[in-house]
Symmetry: C3
Subunit: 311 residues, 3 copies
Amino acid sequence: MKFPQPQTLKQISDLINAEFVGEPDFKILGINEIHVVEHGDIVFVDHPKYYDKALESKASVVLINKEVDCPEGKALLVSEDPFSDFNKITAHFSPFETSHQSLSNSAEIGENTIIQPNVFIGNNVKIGDNCLIHSNVSIYDGVEIGNNVQIHAGTVLGADAFYYKNRPTYHDKLLSGGSIRISDNVEIGALCSIDKGVSGITSIGEGTKIDNQVQVGHDTIIGKKCLIASQTGIAGCVVIEDEVTIWGQVGIASGLTIGKRVVILAQSGISKDLKPDTTYFGTPADDIRKKYRELGYISRIPEIIQKLKNL
Amino acid sequence: MKFPQPQTLKQISDLINAEFVGEPDFKILGINEIHVVEHGDIVFVDHPKYYDKALESKASVVLINKEVDCPEGKALLVSEDPFSDFNKITAHFSPFETSHQSLSNSAEIGENTIIQPNVFIGNNVKIGDNCLIHSNVSIYDGVEIGNNVQIHAGTVLGADAFYYKNRPTYHDKLLSGGSIRISDNVEIGALCSIDKGVSGITSIGEGTKIDNQVQVGHDTIIGKKCLIASQTGIAGCVVIEDEVTIWGQVGIASGLTIGKRVVILAQSGISKDLKPDTTYFGTPADDIRKKYRELGYISRIPEIIQKLKNL
Amino acid sequence: MKFPQPQTLKQISDLINAEFVGEPDFKILGINEIHVVEHGDIVFVDHPKYYDKALESKASVVLINKEVDCPEGKALLVSEDPFSDFNKITAHFSPFETSHQSLSNSAEIGENTIIQPNVFIGNNVKIGDNCLIHSNVSIYDGVEIGNNVQIHAGTVLGADAFYYKNRPTYHDKLLSGGSIRISDNVEIGALCSIDKGVSGITSIGEGTKIDNQVQVGHDTIIGKKCLIASQTGIAGCVVIEDEVTIWGQVGIASGLTIGKRVVILAQSGISKDLKPDTTYFGTPADDIRKKYRELGYISRIPEIIQKLKNL
């Protein structure tokens, strides 16, 4: 998430009431999670295990819960609770804005784009040319949609990430200040949910086609010309490369990478990165040849038992 | 389901055209299914297998399809078809009311609660303070929602139980006269469906967080501070105790109890009660250590076959 | 898909700019895919493997990408790209019509039918008597619904088939010109998606009850008095015969036939036709007795390993 305009270290320090290490007018462009952080951004870290990763990242400012040595060319924000401060910053620069009408005045809608009845389009949404948005679709604030995109009825673009920190007596929600980008020639079926990024962009690549009732988690990046069949669930922070085919009711755990041209058969459960140009099946999934061999072995158990008896 | 005001045995007997055993002015407070029945309620039973359970329950009146001895302090309603008569009573005291506008006049909505566009809020719905109801949400009549609750777009609260009696030529629906109670600090994702109770209350406990596309069946009770990930399906009459974590695409069959702090891994299928403080995986699910051992054993079959050959 | 009025071979040839073999005034009634084609229809075929099937089908006209001998009594349309020409014909006779209001003027709605708020009803939709359509339901153009049908909130009837031809640089969509027919006494839960047929009719038989979040693909035919539980996904072109019971989160692959009175247990994955009067379980699914035996065999592997050690 980039700020609407650059901030100084002093300004952010005042906003979250944190100590800072660095020049007061050190320029800050935005705030992002570690996996999408860029030069100019704040990154937050609250566990010693990840201190080095944050301090060595591309981030220009590290929001951290311990006073450590400040790497050269960077600045620090030292706070007792970086998670809460991340939320304060998100809430300040990306506050929720109530909508009073179904189609926001600040939405930009391209030529020859059809918006069917009962659609909700939030603030600052951008939709390209020649799109068709079917009835009862919900598009949250800030979502960007390219040209020649079709979205079927009831689909929801931009709900919050399902991301909580486990506090002793409650789940503390990480606010979502990110967004969604849908590229040209994408088609999304009915009743899909695609969550916005926490700080980054959930994105669907050019020409990808998604069937009904598919779930795509926050910050997930789906490549070009993929096919994703009905009721598949893709968690947050997944990377799906180009031309991947996913059949129905597949589940993919968070943070994984699915290589180019992978095919995942129906109902598979993916808990590891998948190699390109390979077909997978099962829960936990494996290369389909290995999986079929395994099924063959299981079917031979009665024969094994018989052989043992005959010995 | 409680009646708007107490009824007499005679009044209910007239309504459903059934014989009664007991004082005509015996007071009746409501009607409930066996698992939620309380003193003052009618319970219905139409299978001899369950007669004793109904007669010995907390129910004050038993609606039954055989004239049996009336337990002391109770009354009977004797009818050929208690299932249909249960429906007659539900339809009389909890009739469907058509809505002519998106936000019912009888709905009570708290302070600082935001209702986004295209939301439907039915009759007698109560929503607390500081809630955020996103676009295209549907809230059926009578649903109660606490404070600081967020419900994402497209979610449906209060559809009917999926509960049918198999008659020779058709499925006979048990009408749903119950409701839903969502406690404080709950968050529900996009495109979830939570069914109302048949006679009781489907309830979501304080601080529980539910991801997108989750299904919760009628009369299910979910405890406090649970996390339920996307595309999980929970059948009717399930009890989920506090601090349970359920990952994506899990299925839980009806009537089960999931103990405190249980963790269920993604895509698992639960067909038995689960013990507290344990992690489960698989379909049918088992303790994860047992399940991993099983996967290890399967991988050893080729070695077993080889050993047998070498003998 | 039937044309609004009969066309001649010459007219269609001009429309798609194809050569024709046959009398110019040869009468054509419609266009259909091979599995639903009837006398009077065009069928399309673009792979030599299926030429014979198309030429020997009930089709009166074969739209084909090679000049072959024309069977007696039939006609040919010869084109380089029958897939694209099928789309041209669909787009011409069944063009998408924008809706400017939630309830179309051309929709026919029966007596005592209740339409709750925020429902979208497209052009030429027909709904029978005594139906109840809950809030935020979307019904695309041309869908037909019988009497005494209840449809719960958020459900989508009539989104397009998920059907693409893999071209070198993009997925080419087969347009859906078919429709949906929901018979009398059907109940459909919340947030279900039922896709229209590509050229035929997706249909739900009399008295069938469908739970929440169920997906039904294009051209699928579901029989009478079936029960389909929550989160089940049924692909396109499936035939489900009468009185079938499907429990939650089941997946059924495209083109299969599920015999009468079959029971499919929860989370099963169906990749073969299923025989009538049988209960199935597992992924890939099998007769439940065989499947339980298999689970029993797996549990005996440790014992096998021990025996081998003792030899």
